[in-house]
Amino acid sequence: MPISISNEEILETINMIESENLDIRTITMGISLRDCAHSDIDVVCDRIYKKITTYAKDLVKIGEEVANDYGIPIINKRISVTPIAIVADACEAPDYVKIAKTLDKAAREVGVNFIGGFSALVQKGMTKGDEKLIRSIPQALAETEFVCASVNVGSSRAGINMDAVRLMGEVVKESAELTADTDGLGSAKLVVFCNAVEDNPFMAGAFHGVGEPEVVLNVGVSGPGVVLNAVRKIPNAPFDELATTIKHTAFKVTRSGELVGREAARRLGVPFGIVDLSLAPTPAVGDSVADILEAMGLERVGTHGTTAALAMLNDAVKKGGAMASSHVGGLSGAFIPVSEDAGMIRAVEEDALHLDKLEAMTCVCSVGLDMIAIPGDTSAETIAAIIADEAAIGMINKKTTAVRVIPVPGKKVGDTVVFGGLLGYAPIMDVNKYSSDLFVKRGGRIPAPIHSLNN
């Protein structure tokens, strides 16, 4: 019996893949390392290496097979693991760099392009292991290629750990300084979260949360190009119609992710976790979230109206995607990284977009200040204050927020930094010249907000 799909629908799908950059951005295997704990760090490393290279040995091969069968590219195959601060808490070693190197070696062995989970969750306070991990981050990122680190410093339930925020200001800066030869690439692999999610498949913030199973496969779909073309087709439509069009498009994009994820999980023999239906831009032309906002009628992203446009886009993407998958999770929404989005880069270069507007946009987007290059002489306290602002937005609005800024050593406003590949390039953005030192140095915790009286 012939299938009941019309030619128009077949051509629409093919067009999405061929000319609108529809792809599965990542399939990420989450692996629990909780059973790898031991007081001897060498034993821990040994167990971690064996476990990852066993579970993930076919991840890349099967990812490629599934991509071939459906004709839809899977760009990245990745691994997320239990936050290493938990796994290593029993270790007597003074630092955990050795574990980062083991993760790196395992990632290289199985052929994935990133491994996330050199992480600690310290929203309320730090254990000795948490602090050792955080202090190990700069060296760990400098001496590895594939490892990504993240630290959760706040939550709507716990408040913001300002001691951790202050420490992370120093860690971000040191991570950039130790990788000065690659323009601070270390801090491009480090995310500071508030309300971090446990099943995020996207890097650099992926880790395998403590509520997750032994092993799981999560999928991150993308498709800014597909949404962009759909929006461009109706230049004068009112917002109701625009929202509906974006929902329909997000639905189709997410369906492809659901299919590919389920099939890959089946062939790997691991449970399927969630589809993260984020619009994740790439530096490729036409694969830009900024372009979608501009297609809605803004001359340049960053001008007045940008926050409203992004809020509407983010919500419509979630609504369409939620219908398409039985389990939606992760970050799910629109990402607004600067260096990875050609439209955002242009807006910064043309002086339309500044850090303050980006901060406002993070109130309604899915994550936060992402891939933003700032002057190398920005103080650790200023970076900590930027983190505190973002964490406050997340804490009050009960959403995930994050900071991934790169204080590029030796560069100042007006310079440009090139990270290459999916990380793209970025003009250095200005930060406020006034000091936040005394504020940051207070330490302690900002109390959790009241969860009623919501006005």
């Binding site: 799909i5 051509l11 004709g71 492809s256």
Partner: protein
């Protein structure tokens, strides 16, 4: 093949259609791939052919078929792609 269904959608997109239907059909016959449905249209000056084929009795793997048809397309100056029909079902039907 582990999939329940072995239906594949073959699409051919190109400027010139001379000889292309014959070439693709001949290749598919050689591989024992059964053509279930065939349709063609002109889309923005581009000749577009969509074939639904059944690979149950095929003597090549899906990957091989994909590669061979890709090469055939290059020879004729058209783009030939092969995809399992599931992707279309999934994307357009609930």
């Amino acid at each position: 093949m582990e999939n329940n269904t072995n239906k594949v959608v073959v699409t051919v997109v190109g400027k010139d259609k001379k000889g292309i239907i014959a070439a693709v059909s001949t290749a598919l016959t050689e591989y024992d791939v059964n053509i279930l449905d065939i349709s063609q249209t002109i889309l923005q000056d581009f000749f577009t052919m969509i074939m639904i084929v059944d690979m149950n009795e095929a003597n090549v793997s899906f990957t091989e078929l994909r590669e061979q048809l890709g090469l055939l397309g290059q020879k004729h100056g058209v783009v030939i792609s092969c995809q399992h029909e599931e992707i279309f079902q999934y994307m357009h039907r609930i």
